[in-house]
Assembly symmetry: C2
Homo-oligomer: 214 residues x 2
């Protein structure tokens, strides 16, 4: 079976899930922590080499304070949780804004936790415009030179993007690393994560003809 | 009904269609012309304001010569065909390479044909790395400043991307304009285009909750 080397995860639908449970919208985010760990362990098990979670964006922080505080806290908790595992962990995002949580500053250079192993990236206060904003034209506009001038240059090309919550869009997720990615959409909300979603995505991916634009 | 202002079209599956008909792979492209005109007229009818076709990429030209010649000719024919309609037409791509057809150089500044009307963009010898290669950091990394420094700056943000041929990926299609786009996939190959595909895509789009990252 053709296993993707790098999986991108868009864990969407936390607020819609909360509402479906009769909770306040902002209460949904903390229910995404357990799914995040489960997914990490499944990726580890099948031999995925790199995993990138879409935490929150600079745009997201324009939402109501109570929501911004809730997803920020969920991201802090998620990163600390992953730091208990065997992983090579990196947080990527705009640290120059007050919206970036101080608690995550120590994670903005890649560090090995436990036995190391899978590269795990977590986008926190990320913006596609912020990421692309430092690009400089190289002599040949080569793909490699371009990728190396991204703010997110330590994140590799993504093979498979799995998005929970039914929406079929990227929502600004790593535009340069996503140019050749295959998209798999799970209709269920992220807090309703099941291992079957992941296996169905892998099964679907293994049947794709990967051409990388050739 | 919520009509997308700007539709991006990835007309994929020409080679697979040709093979399914017992033709040589390169014979498929010319069968994509009629669908291209039909789609244009449908967009015109429902009031779409801008339409962008993915012609061919710099990567595509690394294919066998007989194929490169065939899709280049199909793009030349398609642009000339659209120039017979009421449209404001623009070809965007890397004109500094010998792979860019001389016949299309006159279309690389936007021109009004017939009564004008819908903006129609056609990507020819396009590369996502070429497009992003001229970005410069603005003071604030604002989205607007960023978009204005793209090579494809005359192409607006895309609301809906429709891809024929079953694959669920962008394949380098306008990464900056696609960050918030909704993706609709048609399983059938592009030469098998039917008006129903377009209407199904519009129907699906009208049910989406558009947030633009907010």
């Amino acid at each position: 079976m053709q296993i993707p080397e790098h999986i991108g995860v868009i864990p969407d639908g936390n607020r819609r899930w909360a509402q479906s449970q009769g909770l306040n919208k902002e209460d949904g985010y903390s229910y995404g922590l357990k799914p995040g760990l489960e997914l990490f362990k499944l990726c580890q098990k099948v031999g995925v080499k790199e995993l990138t979670y879409y935490g929150f964006t600079m745009d997201n922080t324009k939402r109501r304070n109570v929501q911004t505080e809730a997803f920020t806290q969920a991201c802090i908790d998620a990163v600390k949780m992953l730091a208990q595992e065997d992983a090579s962990l990196l947080v990527v995002g705009n640290t120059e804004s007050p919206k970036f949580p101080d608690e995550l500053l120590p994670y903005t250079t890649r560090k090995t936790f436990g036995q190391g192993g899978m590269k795990v990236n977590f986008l926190v206060n990320y913006g596609w415009h912020w990421d692309l904003g430092s690009l400089r034209q190289s002599e040949k506009s080569s793909k490699k030179a371009l990728i190396n001038s991204l703010k997110s240059k330590d994140i590799s090309r993504i093979d498979l993007i799995i998005r929970w919550g039914k929406r079929r869009r990227l929502s600004g997720f790593l535009p340069a690393q996503s140019v050749y990615s295959d998209f798999y959409i799970v209709d269920e909300y992220w807090p309703s994560f099941k291992a079957e979603h992941f296996y169905a995505a892998l099964d679907w991916y293994s049947k794709q003809d990967i051409t990388l634009g050739g």
